[in-house]
């Protein structure tokens, strides 16, 4: 028996009580979306390296067949969501705030839904090598389905010296309007629990806490039942107060454990790993059935759509198709938001596809998502600081971001900002605070990138210079040797020559060291420092694992 909710809870600073607007999309059953005419699969649906296509235009693909992959450790492969023909590989609009296009594989389904040969189910995963299990998750192309899109297999490998104590399953779903996780927990709690079992085995953790906000009683009951049925030990469903943004990874960990993930660190450093409920269910599918990630539940909601609901849709389904299956647009439609109202990105077109991390399409009316109101000067009221879940001083960051004083803005811990939007929401001056923080972050990344490039150029130049000098020295040395040889014949030697030789060797060594430094791991562009840290850690672990492997051989 799981004991009732006797867990002690902690509270993070600030946060907002927002109208949750979740009832709209929960009134209809979860249904399967139809297979569209075209499936558009961006080659990058995850944080990390972009995938390379494994198929050619015109080729027939089968459902579940891997169609794109990257060799990089931080990446996730893509599979064909149904059988059909590769119609094109090229630029298509993707869900991105600046309306970018990116390379996508477009599949025209043939309606047969014929499966490719799948890897065998691993029902006996308890007996399997953990590396095999991780490899399965990696193969399945699973990323954080809560919206983070970080490759899940990487998170399953905290490294040899890290001991994970607590597994946290994120069912908080704190952002208004979004209900896909709620729906998943209501309908597939046993599947999530199977995933939890696998994760507990994989990460060798004893304790698991499932955090769900108290505005989801049905989901809580379903999850409790499933945990009891599965007879899972030391696994508790914990009801947490509804408070935005309690579903933020670091916030949820704090609520449930009282621990703070240090700034610029990942949860594994304090012995915690956190996965979203959808991700957990996808892991179960991959391990127990050998199925890759082909579909996901997505919420369609807002006053701009006729029949708000949740749909289970194939990855790659165009947003316009999904909206048609939710009764189409109403007259009130004004904005199309991918994600929730607080952190979602506004899409300029519905021609973009559903990606792995897309949890919600909020088709908002003008009342729900009004145009930004005119901005007044900051009156230093401190409301923004009162609600900031990270205890930052948003008005100070705003001040320096606007003045482009990027050193100062970093001194006020810009990079701890999770862009939750609380500060902008409450600001009586209606300042677009988060926009300024994004701007500052982008500028700082750009500057660092530039510095890095300049540094590389300088090093290349110096290396070339050194090479030329070395050649010159060698030439001279040769000449000298010849001379010496001649002089030796005359019976003369010299210590002086040895000293020169040592100096040359030292110089050459320095150059070699510099070269090695220049070849240090490359930054992956557009990552937050936390993500970068994750990437770096993972790379380090991979290298460590490789050397270990080599030693074993």
């Amino acid at each position: 028996m799981t004991p009732p909710n006797q867990q002690r809870l902690w509270r993070f600073h600030g946060g907002l009580h927002l109208p949750d607007n979740k009832a709209q999309s929960l009134g209809r059953e979860l249904t399967q979306a139809t297979v569209p005419q075209r499936l558009i699969l961006p080659l990058q649906q995850h944080i990390g390296e972009e995938d390379k296509p494994l198929v050619a235009v015109g080729e027939r693909v089968l459902k579940g067949q891997m169609i794109a992959r990257s060799k990089a450790y931080i990446s996730a492969p893509i599979h064909a969501p149904t059988s059909g023909t590769v119609a094109s590989i090229g630029p298509e609009p993707i869900p991105h705030p600046s309306g970018l296009v990116a390379t996508c594989i477009v599949i025209e389904p043939d309606g047969e839904d014929a499966w490719a040969e799948l890897p065998e189910p691993m029902d006996d995963y308890q007996q399997r090598d953990r590396a095999d299990l991780r490899e399965r998750v990696r193969w399945a192309g699973i990323v954080g389905l809560g919206g983070a899109a970080f490759p899940t297999s990487v998170k399953l490998n905290p490294g040899p010296n890290v001991r994970i104590k607590t597994l946290i399953i994120n069912g908080a779903e704190c952002e208004p309007y979004i209900t896909c996780d709620d729906m998943l927990m209501r309908t597939r709690a046993p599947r999530i629990v199977s995933g939890i079992k696998i994760l507990k085995h994989l990460l060798e953790v004893e304790e698991c806490l499932i955090g769900i906000e108290d505005n989801k009683p049905v989901a809580i009951a379903a999850m409790r039942q499933a945990v009891t049925d599965a007879g899972l030990q030391k696994t508790r469903v914990v009801t947490i107060p509804t408070l935005y943004p309690s579903g933020g990874e670091k916030q949820l960990i704090h609520i449930l454990t009282g621990k703070e993930v240090p700034s610029h660190a990942i949860p594994a450093q304090i012995g915690v790993v956190c996965h979203n409920v959808g991700t957990t269910a996808a892991i179960a599918d991959a391990v127990l059935e050998g199925k890759p990630l082909l579909s996901r539940i997505v919420t369609l909601t807002g006053d701009g759509v006729a029949e708000p609901r949740n749909l289970e849709a194939l990855i790659g389904t165009p947003v316009s198709d999904l909206i048609a299956q939710a009764g189409g647009y109403t007259n009130a439609v004004y904005k199309l938001i991918l994600g929730g109202p607080m952190m979602g990105i506004a899409l300029h077109t519905d021609a973009v596809p559903l990606t792995k991390a897309a949890n919600c399409l909020l088709v908002a009316s003008r009342e729900e998502a009004p145009d930004p109101s005119p901005v007044r000067p900051c009156i230093r009221c401190g409301e923004c600081a009162r609600v900031c879940p990270v205890s930052l001083l948003p008005q100070q960051m705003y001040w320096y971001a606007r003045a482009k004083d990027f050193d100062k803005v970093q001194a006020y811990n810009l990079f701890d900002c999770i862009e939750c939007g609380c500060c902008s929401h409450v600001c009586p001056a209606h300042l677009p605070l988060v926009q300024f923080y994004r701007f500052a972050k982008n500028e700082i990344w750009a500057q660092e990138e530039e510095k890095r490039k300049a540094e590389q150029a300088r090093q290349r130049h110096e290396a070339r210079q050194a090479r030329l000098e070395r050649l010159e020295r060698e030439r001279k040395a040769k000449l000298r040797k010849k001379k010496e040889a001649l002089e030796k014949k005359k019976g003369a030697g010299g210590k002086e020559q040895d000293a020169k030789k040592a100096a040359i060797e030292a110089a050459m060594k320095r150059v070699a060291e510099k070269k090695a430094a220049a070849a240090a791991p490359k930054n992956t562009e557009g990552l937050t420092p936390a993500q970068q840290r994750q990437v770096d850690n993972a790379e380090a672990r991979r290298r460590a694992a490789e050397t270990e492997g080599e030693q074993e051989k």
């Binding site: 993070f12 600073h13 927002l18 705030p97 670091k250 704090h254 703070e260 993930v261 240090p262 700034s263 660190a265 439609v333 004004y334 904005k335 199309l336 938001i337 994600g339 109202p341 607080m342 952190m343 979602g344 990105i345 506004a346 300029h348 519905d350 729900e368 998502a369 145009d371 930004p372 109101s373 005119p374 007044r376 000067p377 009156i379 230093r380 009221c381 401190g382 409301e383 600081a385 009162r386 990270v390 205890s391 930052l392 001083l393 008005q395 811990n413 701890d416 862009e419 939007g421 902008s424 929401h425 409450v426 600001c427 009586p428 001056a429 209606h430 677009p432 988060v434 926009q435 994004r438």
Partner: protein, 346 residues
């Protein structure tokens, strides 16, 4: 279909500067009504005159700065400044002094520093201090409250006095005006009289000065409403009044004959108004919670010290201005600990 693509959050904003200012104005009304009740029409006339002057001045400056005029004055901040100034000055202050003060507040203290949000000093208090120093006689010429006033002026008489600059025929300042209770207390104390003797005077009421104590209560009511509406937080008012009461209490315990009871300090001058409406001006106050407590407490202590040992009877304006100066420094040293950072590490 094309959709607009602003960045998140996409929500309707629940709060606005206009609403904040409007609420402050509404919260002032009970206290203002009480002032009119006890001291006659002068305060109301001053408020109207000051508001018109402030809005006109703000509009002109905005026009000169090529900023949208209507949008700027619709934030109501100029009206708030005007009202606070008009409440602070004597009810029969000659009109041109009111106009001069408000012009100084809006044009120099507020706009020359960049306008709303940029002024380091509280405009109403800066103007009050300027007038107090330059025109000490006019600025200390208060009226007795109605129950002690043998010659209360009617509306027309008040209007005449303010705009003509002299009293209606047959009246002299000696008969009409009186010192403020704080002023009176000082004068009496300077004459080495004991508190027990001084308190015999009909000027004193149950816990403060007669009339004044009730005005204080009505402003308190407005202030509590602002707290309830979350326009202000408790930190500054509570710490300021605590600072004042603790200081007054200590001195009172040490020598109750020469130091009035602490509640006298709270209910005889501008302490309540200052705690809820002036020290809480967000633009010029400290913004961190810890900082606000320090800021408020320091104002409370300063009010007591200036009242007791300084050259002017009431001290809220001086204390607030002094602490305005310190606010940025206080903020700097009281930054909250950021999530995931160790204490002391930024």
């Amino acid at each position: 279909m094309e959709f607009p693509t602003e960045t998140s959050p996409h929500t309707a904003r629940p709060n606005s500067v206009d609403t904040v200012m409007l609420r402050v104005i509404l919260a002032l009304i009970p206290g203002i009504v009480a002032m009119v009740w006890y001291f006659g029409w002068g305060t109301l006339i001053n408020i109207l005159l000051a508001s018109i002057t402030a809005v006109t001045a703000e509009a002109l400056v905005m026009k000169l700065r090529h900023k949208p005029v209507l949008f700027a004055i619709s934030d109501l901040s100029a009206v708030v400044t005007a009202m606070l100034f008009a409440i602070a000055v004597p009810p029969l202050l000659p009109w041109w002094l009111t106009v001069l003060g408000v012009l100084f507040a809006i044009v120099v203290v507020k706009q020359l520093y960049g306008g709303l949000g940029y002024n380091p000093f509280n405009p109403a208090m800066a103007a009050y201090v300027l007038l107090l120093i330059s025109y000490p006689v006019d600025m200390t010429n208060w009226l007795p409250p109605r129950m002690l006033n043998d010659h209360p002026l009617g509306f027309i008489q008040t209007l005449h006095t303010i705009f003509a600059g002299h009293l209606p025929a047959g009246l002299t300042w000696d008969t009409v005006s009186g010192a403020t209770p704080l002023d009176e207390m000082r004068t009496q104390l300077d004459m080495n009289r004991m508190i027990s003797e001084i308190r015999q005077s009909p000027l004193w009421g149950d816990f403060g000065a007669r009339g004044w104590e009730w005005i204080g209560n009505w402003f308190l009511l407005g202030g509590l409403w602002l707290l309830y509406k979350r326009v202000i937080s408790w930190h500054i008012p509570v710490s300021m009044l605590s600072g004042l009461i603790v200081m007054a209490g200590l001195f009172y315990i040490a020598d109750p004959n020469t130091h009035p009871f602490p509640l006298f300090h709270m209910f005889s001058g501008g302490a309540i108004l200052g705690a809820f409406f002036i020290a809480t001006d967000p633009v010029t106050a400290a913004t961190t919670k810890k900082g606000q407590i320090i800021y408020g407490a320091a104002i409370g202590v300063l009010v007591f010290l200036i009242r007791t040992f300084g050259g002017y009877p009431d001290a809220v304006a001086f204390a607030v201005l002094l602490m305005n100066l310190a606010a940025p420094t206080i903020d700097y040293y009281t930054q909250p600990r950021v999530f995931g950072h160790k204490r002391g590490q930024t």
